[in-house]
């Protein structure tokens, strides 16, 4: 089930390669069968429609991307790559920011 999209700084959907048969099949699958994926975000398991990028997720959660740092499966996702990083079933995501501390 895991589709690891290449990290591209050019925004959502940029990872879809229309000429690749595998990717084409996958996008059809999303469109016609409305697949959902379970993702663990900050320790809580959540379900989303498949085909969501980090950017899309932050938008959905109403979180400003400029103020947070995202870690996907223990690896930091740079802000430039938010749009091109797709989330898949079983991913573990940490979204952190600065809070008051001493």
């Amino acid at each position: 089930m895991r589709v690891k999209a290449p990290i591209q700084p050019s925004g959502r959907g940029a990872n879809l390669k229309p000429y690749s048969l595998a990717t084409f099949g996958w996008s059809l699958w999303i469109r016609f069968f409305l697949v959902t994926v379970k993702i663990k975000i900050n320790g809580e398991e959540k379900e989303f429609a498949a085909g969501l990028s980090v950017d899309g997720l932050l938008g959905h959660l109403q979180i400003r991307p400029g103020r947070v740092v995202v870690e996907l499966n223990r690896e930091i996702v740079s802000r430039d790559a938010f749009g091109g990083t797709m989330l898949a079933e079983g991913d573990t995501l940490e979204i952190v920011h600065f809070v008051g501390g001493g």
């Binding site: 959660l61 740079s78 600065f98 008051g100 001493g102």
Partner: protein, 257 residues
């Protein structure tokens, strides 16, 4: 004469570093920090509340262009967690400065020194400017300095205890041997505690609870600014030696008889 605190090549006029925890709200945080005159402020790295993402962010109140943001690793009990937290903090784009604290026990919040040393090595190698929170132990201070930490930050007393400097003799030994700035971190209760640290020759003082949990945090922030300044000036001025007996201040000549 320019008297500045120098950390990894950057000069700071203020020798008071303040935390941003425990305030009533962000507005109070902002005001207290402004009054304290601090140029470096500490912050913690935590998960965003995804079910209720607060629209306001601490950094909306603390302009990173105006203040040097010093992320801490508070709450980390292993070197691995501390390193992970620092990497996340660096990704936020506020610079390379980190306050390294690896906690050994949640009752005393004393540092786990072997883990602190381990994390410091990794972080220095990765190019971080590491300011480690340590016990008032001269050996640990030396080891961390040798690893390449930009300063050492011995505690005055347990975090949030307000007990003031419990072991001034150890702080003096640390000061005597350190070639990096010595910043007293944690345990300060009131302005005189900060002044004492500065009079001893410490290069800076870091505090949070003493200001944030005072009855009037804004007024205490000002008191701390003045305490640090007074202590620093007294250190530079050079105090008189302590004597057991009196020395008259007025001339002994010309006394009426």
């Amino acid at each position: 004469m320019e008297d500045v605190l120098q950390l990894a090549g950057t000069k700071y006029r203020s020798r008071l570093i303040v935390g941003t925890g425990k305030y009533k709200d962000f507005e109070e945080t902002r005001r207290a920090i402004e009054v304290s005159g601090a140029e470096i402020v500490t912050v913690a790295v935590r998960r965003v509340n995804i079910t209720d993402p607060n629209k306001e962010n601490l950094l909306d109140y603390l302009d990173p262009k105006k203040y040097t943001i010093l992320p801490n690793t508070a709450g980390c009990y292993t070197a691995e967690d501390a390193v992970r937290t620092c990497r996340l903090a660096r990704e936020a784009g506020v610079g390379k400065l980190v306050k390294l604290e690896v906690i050994g026990d949640d009752k005393t919040l004393f540092p786990d020194i072997p883990a602190t040393l381990e994390a410091a090595k990794i972080l220095v190698n990765e190019g971080f400017v590491v300011l480690p929170y340590i016990n008032d132990d001269p050996i640990t201070a030396k080891k961390l300095e040798n690893i390449g930490c930009a300063a050492v930050m011995p505690l005055a007393a347990p975090i949030g205890s307000g007990l003031g400097i419990r072991n001034p003799y150890n702080i003096r030994i640390i000061l005597e041997h350190a070639t990096v700035p010595v910043i007293v971190d944690a345990g300060v209760g009131t302005a005189s505690d900060a002044a004492i640290a500065m009079e001893m020759g410490c290069h800076g003082v870091l505090m949070n609870t003493a200001i944030a949990s005072a009855k009037d945090p804004i007024l205490m922030a000002e008191a701390m600014r003045l305490g640090v300044e007074a202590g620093r000036k007294a250190y530079l001025a050079g105090r008189i030696p302590k004597k057991l007996y009196a020395t008259a201040s007025s001339p002994l000549d010309g006394i009426l008889n």
